[in-house]
Amino acid sequence: MTGPSASNDIASRLAPTSNKKTMKIISTPEHHLVESPAVLAVANDIDPRTLDLQGVKRIDLTFPKFTDGRAYSQAFMLRRRLGFKGELRATGDVLIDQLVQMQRTGFDVAVLREGVDASAAPRQFDRFAGFYQGSAVDTPPQFSKSD
């Protein structure tokens, strides 16, 4: 019994968009919601598969509280399942200690909550040499690497 393997087509769509394990961090004043069809702001109870992504360059997902993890699933689905190549921006209650998991689920830009000191952020990306699971942007997972 072997599992389904990705076809070439899927493989190319799923190729990591970037191997750099970091995020662009911007402050609240730098973040503007642009009135443009190329920018979507999506509430965290929306199923990303229902969105029309034609021409969309940036999607703002939101964390109303940092303990509300729904946007991680949205990001994963947008990046990996729907193959969205534009910017995924984390907004809302965005703190230092969740940045790495945001990056791993497919976010590439984070708007730190007002008043959060960004200086502790960079070292978080250097802490772990690797992770067990595959992620939205870095595959395969640890336990399929030896195959």
Binding site: M1, T2, G3, P4, S5, A6, I10, A11, L14, D45, D47, F66, T67, D68, G69, R70, Y72, S73, F76, R80, R81, L95, D97, Q98, V100, Q101, M102, R104, T105, D117, A120, R123, Q124, R127, F128, A129, G130, F131, Y132, Q133, G134, S135, T139, P140, P141, Q142, F143, S144, K145, S146, D147
Partner: protein, 597 residues
């Protein structure tokens, strides 16, 4: 046991360093209490009634002698309140009604989820403790918080005579998959997985958010029967089957679907309605359908990246070979002599004979047995082990069980690799340490949470009640005559003491600032003795703390009056209850009420 690779070791050390970084930022005021709390919880650090509590993960209950020694060191060197804290705590304790036990320190506590807890370590020393744990590949990763918790399994995994598939390599794979999963760190609520590979369910899988039973299909292929939506708490629910057979190498892809739909759909507006059991109850087939769709999309569109490679399974599985024991002389003659020697000792000493019956279980290797050390005795709370006892247990594990032990969900230790010809010596050593009470599976082998003496969530204390029952039933003849009974005590509706699954369950409730206790009858955790998992039924309004021991006695007297002989023994308590129904027991329990003194 699983052998940590350089990757695994580095990972645990990095996690300890991350905790230190977070602790220092919190101490420096860069992280608020609210921001730090979910982070420390996901490393096992609670703040309890008097002091922080650390919950150390014991993945699927397997623990080595060197790990037990480090737990002993932590108990000895760190689980110590300073004098001011202890004085203040004891003063608060003395204000509680009734006889509050003296607070103790310098001990570990085995939990119902096969983990180990400490109660007095100051948060300021937490990073040092995490470094110490990391030195033996231990940690507190995801032992709390709204994430995927430690996977639990059968305490006899890999040695049970009724095992179909050894669940440990799969439990290890689930440990790896769930550890710091980026998408599932902030679920609506905690998420617990249990897995068994035997025909008897000793892991209470029906009571978990996901319960996995390993099976073989007609073609002999290994897979999982998957249950979802079980849980205790305020609304006890037994899990429903969502899959009859899932191929073994798809377990992560499938769990990803189960948890993702829960993450998206689970309620976040009400703490008491946030567990997956509520979602499964509310949505039913719609949830099942969405999981199936999600699973198919993971395979067809995401590339099914968490399909387990055979080579990786083989690498992990190779860690779970039986330890090399010096059994080169194993012959029929050797076996016959070892058995004859045991019989001789048992004839000479009834205490040893009782222990052989109650605490020693068969093994798939006929030259070996699995032995249960009992941490249920007078003067210590169920599942508590002092620093010295942890050290001594480590020495027993080293000498008699190839350096390996299991923490059981009934808060004891199992030594899974004991040679037949060493049982008597082990019994003598365990007896000298006070760990050979022949009470496994009996009334005094009760499950109890730490309760109101330590826990900030509790409505009532568990430990004085546990102590009262333990003291009342010290006569071994009487205890044996009462036979096998699952007696479970929880200090609040969170149900850490699994009262819902007790044949007799006790739940602490708070009424007008006083401690009261609900009594339930007829629950089952899923073991063969009591049958399919089911919550017990409440016998009536809550009882006062001084009534409870009399109520238990009245219930047990009713059992003794009603039980019938079966197959050369008495019916067990649960068998009589299931045959005659609850009414005579309810009558007896309610008749044992007496006006407040």
């Amino acid at each position: 046991m699983y052998r940590y690779t350089e990757f695994d070791q580095q990972f645990v050390r990095a996690r300890a360093a991350q905790h230190r970084d977070q602790l220092e930022r919190w101490q420096a005021g860069q992280l608020s209490d609210d921001e730090f709390k979910p982070l420390r919880l996901q490393n096992g650090w609670y703040v309890q009634r008097y002091a922080p509590m650390l919950r150390v993960a014991v993945p699927y209950g397997e623990i080595s002698a060197p790990q037990l020694k480090v737990l002993a060191q932590i108990a000895r060197d760190y689980d110590t309140p300073d004098t001011a804290l202890l004085t203040k705590a004891q003063a608060m304790q003395d204000k509680l009604p009734g006889a509050a036990p003296q607070l103790t320190s310098n001990y570990g506590h085995f939990t119902t989820r096969q983990n180990v807890q400490f109660n007095w370590i100051p948060l300021s020393k937490s990073a040092d403790v995490m470094d110490l744990l990391a030195s033996v590949n231990m940690h507190g990763i995801q032992t709390s918080g709204n994430c995927i918790r430690n996977t639990t399994t059968d305490e006899l995994a890999g040695v049970a005579v009724d095992e179909v598939v050894d669940p440990r390599p799969y439990a290890e794979l689930i440990r790896q998959w769930s550890t710091l999963h980026p998408e599932f760190a902030f679920l609506p609520r905690k998420f617990k997985i249990a897995i068994t590979g035997a025909s008897e369910d000793r892991a209470a899988i029906g009571w978990h958010d996901v319960g996995l039973q390993m099976v073989k299909n007609a073609a002999g292929e290994v897979g999982f029967k998957v249950l979802v939506g079980g849980g205790m708490g305020r609304t006890p629910v037994v899990g429903s089957q969502i899959r009859a057979f899932l191929p073994w190498n798809q377990i992560m892809n499938y769990l990803e679907a189960v948890v993702r739909v829960y993450n998206r759909w689970g309620r976040r507006d009400n703490l008491y309605k946030a567990r997956i059991k509520i979602l499964v109850k509310a949505e039913g087939q719609r949830y099942f359908d969405e999981v199936e769709t999600e699973y198919q999309e993971i395979l067809s569109q995401d590339g099914g990246m968490h399909t387990i490679a055979q080579s990786e399974f083989d690498r992990i599985n190779a860690c779970f070979v039986s330890p090399a024991l010096d059994l080169t002389r194993l012959t029929d003659e050797w076996l016959a002599k070892a058995e004859a020697d045991i019989s001789k000792e048992a004839a000479k000493n009834s205490a040893f004979a009782r222990w052989m019956v109650q605490n020693v279980v068969p093994h798939r290797n006929r030259a070996l047995r699995a032995v249960k050390l009992s941490f249920k005795r007078v003067d210590q709370a169920p599942g508590d082990a002092t620093a010295d006892q942890l050290d001594a247990a480590a020495a027993l594990v080293d000498q008699y069980s190839a350096g390996q032990a299991r923490v059981t969900h009934t808060q004891n230790l199992v030594l899974p690799w004991v040679r037949l010809d060493q049982l008597h010596a082990l019994w003598q050593a365990a007896k000298a340490l006070g760990l050979a009470q022949p009470n496994i599976g009996l009334l005094t082998d009760m499950i109890a949470c730490p309760g109101g003496d330590y826990c900030a969530l509790a409505n009532a204390r568990s430990l004085p009640l546990a102590a009262a029952i333990t003291e009342r039933y010290q006569d071994l003849d009487e205890l044996n005559d009462l036979g096998r009974i699952d007696f479970h005590i929880s200090g609040c509706i969170n149900s850490c003491g699994h009262h819902h699954s007790g044949h007799i369950g006790i739940l602490g409730v708070d009424k007008d600032g006083k401690e009261w206790y609900q009594v339930t009858l007829g629950g089952s955790d899923g073991k063969d003795l009591s049958g399919a998992a089911v919550p017990g039924k409440v016998v009536g309004p809550a009882f006062s703390s001084f009534e409870v021991p009399d109520v238990i006695e009245a219930i047990l007297d009713t059992y003794k009056a009603l039980r019938l002989p079966v197959q050369g023994r008495h019916e067990y308590f649960i068998e009589t209850l299931q045959r005659v129904g609850q009414d005579p027991f309810k009558l007896a329990a309610n008749g044992a009420r007496h006006p407040s003194e």
